[in-house]
């Protein structure tokens, strides 16, 4: 699995400010392609924590784990998809991003990384 190639599929999308592969258990950056002002360590730690908690919610509801998490705020969008081997594919984007396209690419990257 070429992680740099996976990330290179996400970063050309207009509005994407960075993409990461994150170790889900540790919340550490495994690979990244980020703009300078994006704090990759913070994104990795907080996204892994969020994914862990959200997975706990769906488990409690008796549902399978989601295939993608999508957070939209006034200043940006975050998408994360779980991958086998305890990794997450994460994309950070500004609000003007085409969320549909980015979502597809994140899901495709997660499938390829599996």
């Amino acid at each position: 699995m070429n992680l740099a190639a996976l990330l290179a599929e996400l970063t050309p999308v207009h509005g994407v400010r960075g993409a990461l592969i994150v170790s889900r258990e540790d919340g550490l950056v495994v690979a990244d392609a980020l703009m300078e002002d994006v704090d990759g360590k913070a994104v990795a730690a907080l996204t892994a924590s969020l994914a862990d908690r959200m997975a706990g919610v769906t488990r409690a509801l008796g549902q399978p784990e989601p295939v993608v998490w999508q957070l939209e705020g006034s200043e940006g969008v975050l998408l994360a998809a779980p991958v086998a081997a305890g990794l997450l594919v994460v994309a950070v984007a500004s609000p003007e991003v085409n969320v549909g396209e980015l979502r597809l690419r994140v899901l495709r990257a997660a499938e390829r990384a599996a």
């Binding site: 994150v22 170790s23 258990e25 540790d26 919340g27 550490l28 360590k41 913070a42 990795a44 730690a45 907080l46 892994a48 924590s49 862990d52």
Partner: protein, 153 residues
């Protein structure tokens, strides 16, 4: 949480809340305890401080042998509990933080909020106080006073 320096309490409290750490010990580079959370016995905290400072000294020496800059942090990953040990500069000199955390948090979160703790401590530190001379006849009283502050006894 117990602290010998009142200005350490707010940053440390924020760190404990945000990181989910179970035990945290802040000490000087020589192993003198500044603040602690999670320990219940003075013997444990003194041992942990001495061992933590020893590990930092050993890794510093290892870096010297490898002709590289000193390591910023050391992590011991365990099945149930893990340990994060990091040295950092403060206006009061070099300190060491020892953090024990479980599966309810992650190394990434501990690292992230430890970095913020270091920044907060830098901002919260009061202007340098004149160094007090520790006299031999005061030593026992000062040691007991420190232990009372750290354990509330």
């Amino acid at each position: 949480m117990r602290s010998l320096e009142p200005w350490v309490e707010a940053p440390l409290s924020a760190f404990l809340t945000e990181s989910g750490a179970r035990i945290t010990l802040l000490m000087t580079g020589s192993g003198q305890v500044v603040a602690q959370h999670g320990f219940t016995r003075s013997l444990d905290v003194m041992s942990a401080a001495a061992l933590g400072a020893g590990i930092m000294a050993a890794t510093g020496e290892l870096a010297r042998v490898m002709t590289t800059a000193p390591f910023d942090s050391v992590t011991h990953q365990g099945k149930a509990l893990s340990l994060y040990l990091a040295g950092f500069e403060t206006p009061r000199g070099r300190w060491v933080g020892l953090v024990v955390y479980g599966g309810e948090t992650s190394l990434g979160l501990v690292q992230l909020f430890f970095g913020r703790l270091v920044e907060d401590l830098g901002r919260a530190a009061p202007a340098e106080l004149p160094a007090r001379q520790v006299l031999a006849e005061d030593f026992e009283e000062q040691l007991n006073s420190s232990l009372r502050s750290l354990f509330g006894r």
